[in-house]
C-alpha cells in the first residue's frame, strides 16, 4: 500500500511520460494527455461496471431492504419502517453477544498469530538452505479451502476417536469435548484459525525480513547487540510497514468469521460461537428476515470500514528512526 512516488505518473508536470516530450505545443500536449487518460478509463471500464453491478448496487439495495419489514416467506408489499431494523439490532442482546464473540475471536487471532508468525519467520530466516520449500510446506493450511480445513478439524477434535484426545489421554490430560464444550468451542475455533493463518503471517514477515538490507543487520551484529536487541531495535521497526499490512489483513479477515463456524460448530453449542457474520446468516437464510439481516450487514460494513480506516492510520506513521526502506522492494 506504499505508493511509489518516484515512478508515479500524475499525467502532468515534468515527470510526464516521454512521448509528451516530443510533442511541440501545450495544446497538443493536453490533447495527448486526455487521450491517454481516456484510454486508461476504457481499460478500467468493464471492471468498474462489473464491480458496481455486483457490489455497489447490492449495497444500495441492501440499504433499501434494511429500511423495510422484509420477510421473504410473507408475500405482499414490504412496509417501509425507517430505522426500525437498526434500532432493533442495537437492542438485540444476540447482536451484542455475537459482537463479543467476534471481538474475542479477533483478539485471540492477534494475540497468538503475530508472535508465533514472527517467531517462525525468524526461524525460517535463519535456515541456511531450503527456505522456500519449508515456507511453502508451512503454508499448506492457508491455501486449503475452509471446508477442507473444517473437515480436518472435525476429525481431529472428535471426542471419542480423534487423535487429539487420544494423545491427551496418553498424557492423562483429560478428554475435552472441544467444539461441543461451551467454554472450549470458541478457543477451539481460534486454534483452527491459528493453524490456518499463522503460516500466512509467517510468510509475509519472512518476505519482509528477506528484503531488509543485509548491511543493516550485520552492522547491528557487529555492534555487539544480542539477538533480542536485533529483533526489537532493528527488525521490528524496519518491518513496521509489512507488519501493518499483515495485521490489517488478518484483523479484517478474522472479523468476517463465518466458514469454520459453519463447518465446525454451526454457532453452537447453544450460541457460544455465533459470530456477527454467522448470526446475520441465520437471520437471513434460516429465518429469511431479509430486512433485519440487511440492517445487520450494513452495520457490519460500517464497523469494518471504521476499523480498516483506523488501522490504516495507525500503520501509516513513519517507523521509528525515520528509516523507510523505500527502495527495498517491500
Amino acid at each position: 500500500m506504499r505508493e511509489d512516488t518516484g515512478r508515479r505518473e500524475r499525467g502532468e508536470g515534468p515527470s510526464g511520460p516521454s512521448p509528451l516530450r516530443s510533442s511541440p505545443g501545450p495544446a497538443s500536449r493536453r490533447h495527448l494527455l486526455s487521450a491517454q487518460r481516456r484510454f486508461g478509463w476504457w481499460l478500467l471500464l468493464p471492471s468498474l461496471i462489473m464491480l458496481a453491478a455486483n457490489s455497489i448496487f447490492p449495497l444500495l439495495y441492501a440499504v433499501g431492504v434494511s429500511t423495510k419489514a422484509y420477510q421473504m416467506l410473507i408475500p405482499g408489499p414490504r412496509r417501509f419502517v425507517g430505522l426500525a431494523n437498526y434500532i432493533q439490532a442495537l437492542q438485540d442482546p444476540l447482536v451484542w453477544h455475537s459482537l463479543a464473540v467476534t471481538l474475542y475471536f479477533v483478539g485471540g487471532v492477534l494475540v497468538l498469530q503475530f508472535p508465533a508468525g514472527l517467531g517462525l519467520a525468524l526461524l525460517l530466516h535463519r535456515l541456511p538452505r531450503r527456505q522456500e520449500l519449508v515456507a511453502t510446506l508451512l503454508l499448506i493450511p492457508t491455501i486449503l479451502s475452509a471446508s477442507v480445513v473444517g473437515f480436518q478439524w472435525v476429525q481431529l477434535y472428535n471426542y471419542e476417536f480423534g487423535p487429539l484426545n487420544y494423545l491427551l489421554a496418553l498424557l492423562h490430560l483429560g478428554q475435552p469435548t472441544w467444539t461441543a464444550d461451551p467454554h472450549l468451542a470458541l478457543p477451539a475455533l481460534i486454534f483452527v484459525d491459528f493453524w490456518e493463518w499463522t503460516p500466512f503471517m509467517t510468510l509475509l514477515l519472512f518476505a519482509g525480513l528477506r528484503s531488509l538490507p543485509p548491511q543493516i543487520v550485520d552492522a547491528a551484529r557487529v555492534d555487539g547487540s544480542t539477538p533480542w536487541q536485533v529483533v526489537w531495535r532493528v527488525f521490528l521497526p524496519l518491518l513496521r510497514p509489512i507488519i501493518g499490512i499483515a495485521l490489517i489483513l488478518r484483523i479484517i479477515m478474522a472479523f468476517k468469521l463465518f466458514d469454520i463456524v459453519y463447518v465446525l460448530t454451526a454457532g453452537g453449542p447453544g450460541i457460544a460461537t455465533e459470530s456477527l457474520a454467522f448470526y446475520t446468516y441465520i437471520q437471513g437464510f434460516r429465518y429469511f428476515n431479509m430486512g433485519y439481516a440487511s440492517a445487520l450487514s450494513i452495520l457490519q460494513l460500517i464497523l469494518i470500514t471504521i476499523l480498516a480506516k483506523l488501522l490504516l492510520r495507525l500503520t501509516r506513521r513513519p517507523p521509528i528512526g525515520g528509516f523507510i526502506p523505500q527502495e527495498a522492494p517491500l
Partner: protein
C-alpha cells in the same frame, strides 16, 4: 544470518522448533490423507490408527461415484476456470490502467481493493435476492458471476503492482513510434508481464476453487462444488470418514500442487499485491 562455521546450540534449537512447527502444521493434512487411504475398519477406532494397514483405494472410487465426487470435481473445475478466465479478461486491462496510468488515482484503487474487505454476508443477502429474482439460484452463472467479481479486485491489485515494476520505456518508445496505446499494452506490456499473469491466473483459480460461503448461499443441489459437498456429507453420513476424507483430499491436492508451482508469487498474491518481494 548464516552460522559462520560449526553447529551452534542455537541452530539445533531453531531447527527443532521449526521441525515441531512443521509437524503441527502438517499433521491435520497428513491425518486427512491417511484417513482417505484407510480401510473402513480403521476409520473410527480407539486408539486411532496412525498408519493405514493397507492402502484402500476404494475410498476414492466410492467418493467419486457414490458421493458425487466426480460431479463435485467437474463443477469446481467449471466454475473456477470460467470465473478465472472472465475475470482475467476484464481484470488484466484494469490492472494495467491502474498501474500505468493511475486512472482515478490512489482513491479509486483503494475503492476497488475495499471490495475484498467487504464482509461476504453484507453482499450475500442482496446478491441472493438478485440472483433469485433472475431465477439463477443453483446455476453456474450465479457462482461464476459472483466469483468473477471477487477475482477482479484481487487480479487488479496484484497485477497492478507487477505492471508498476515493469520499466515503461519500451511502451513509451512504441507509442512515440506510432503504435496505438492498445498495441503497447497488448504486444509489449502483457508479454513482459506474462510470468506474473500466469501466476495471478493460478491464484485466482485457487480462490475460486476453494470458495465456500457463496457456494453455500447460491447453490442447492444442481451445482455442487467440492467445498460445498464436504459439509453436507459430514452431516448426512458422518461414519463414512474414509470416503469423506477422499473427497477432501480431492479438493486439497490441486491447490497444494499449484502452491508449489507458484512459490515465488505466493507472498505478493496472498497479500493482494501490497507486499513486494525482492
Amino acid at each position: 544470518m548464516r552460522p559462520r562455521h560449526g553447529i551452534h546450540l542455537a541452530d539445533v534449537g531453531s531447527y527443532t522448533l521449526l521441525g515441531i512447527a512443521l509437524i503441527v502444521f502438517l499433521f491435520p493434512v497428513y491425518w486427512m490423507l491417511a484417513t482417505s487411504l484407510k480401510p473402513p475398519g480403521e476409520w473410527l477406532t480407539r486408539p486411532p490408527v496412525f498408519w493405514p494397514s493397507t492402502i484402500h483405494w476404494e475410498n476414492f472410487t466410492d467418493a467419486l461415484i457414490k458421493w458425487g465426487g466426480l460431479k463435485g470435481l467437474r463443477d469446481s473445475l467449471i466454475v473456477a476456470s470460467l470465473s478465472t478466465a472472465i475475470s482475467m479478461v476484464v481484470g488484466v486491462p484494469a490492472a494495467y490502467s491502474l498501474g500505468r496510468y493511475r486512472t482515478g488515482g490512489e482513491n479509486l484503487s483503494f475503492i476497488i481493493l475495499s471490495v475484498l474487505f467487504m464482509p461476504p454476508v453484507a453482499v450475500a443477502i442482496p446478491m441472493y435476492l438478485f440472483w433469485s429474482r433472475l431465477g439463477l439460484i443453483d446455476t453456474y452463472t450465479a457462482l461464476v458471476g459472483q466469483y468473477t467479481v471477487f477475482n477482479i479486485p484481487f487480479i487488479a491489485w496484484v497485477l497492478k503492482s507487477f505492471f508498476e515494476d515493469i520499466p515503461r520505456e519500451m511502451e513509451e518508445s512504441a507509442v512515440v513510434n506510432g503504435a496505438t496505446r492498445w498495441r503497447a499494452f497488448w504486444e509489449i506490456a502483457v508479454p513482459l508481464a506474462r510470468p506474473s499473469i500466469v501466476a495471478v491466473t493460478l491464484l485466482a483459480f485457487i480462490f475460486s476453487w476453494n470458495e465456500f460461503f457463496f457456494a453455500v448461499i447460491l447453490t442447492r443441489a444442481r451445482v455442487t462444488t467440492l467445498p460445498f459437498i464436504l459439509p453436507t456429507l459430514m452431516e448426512g453420513h458422518n461414519v463414512l470418514w474414509g470416503d469423506i476424507a477422499a473427497i477432501a483430499t480431492l479438493g486439497a491436492v490441486p491447490v497444494v500442487v499449484l502452491a508449489f508451482l507458484l512459490q515465488r508469487y505466493l507472498v505478493r498474491g496472498l497479500s493482494f499485491g501490497t507486499v513486494r518481494e525482492r
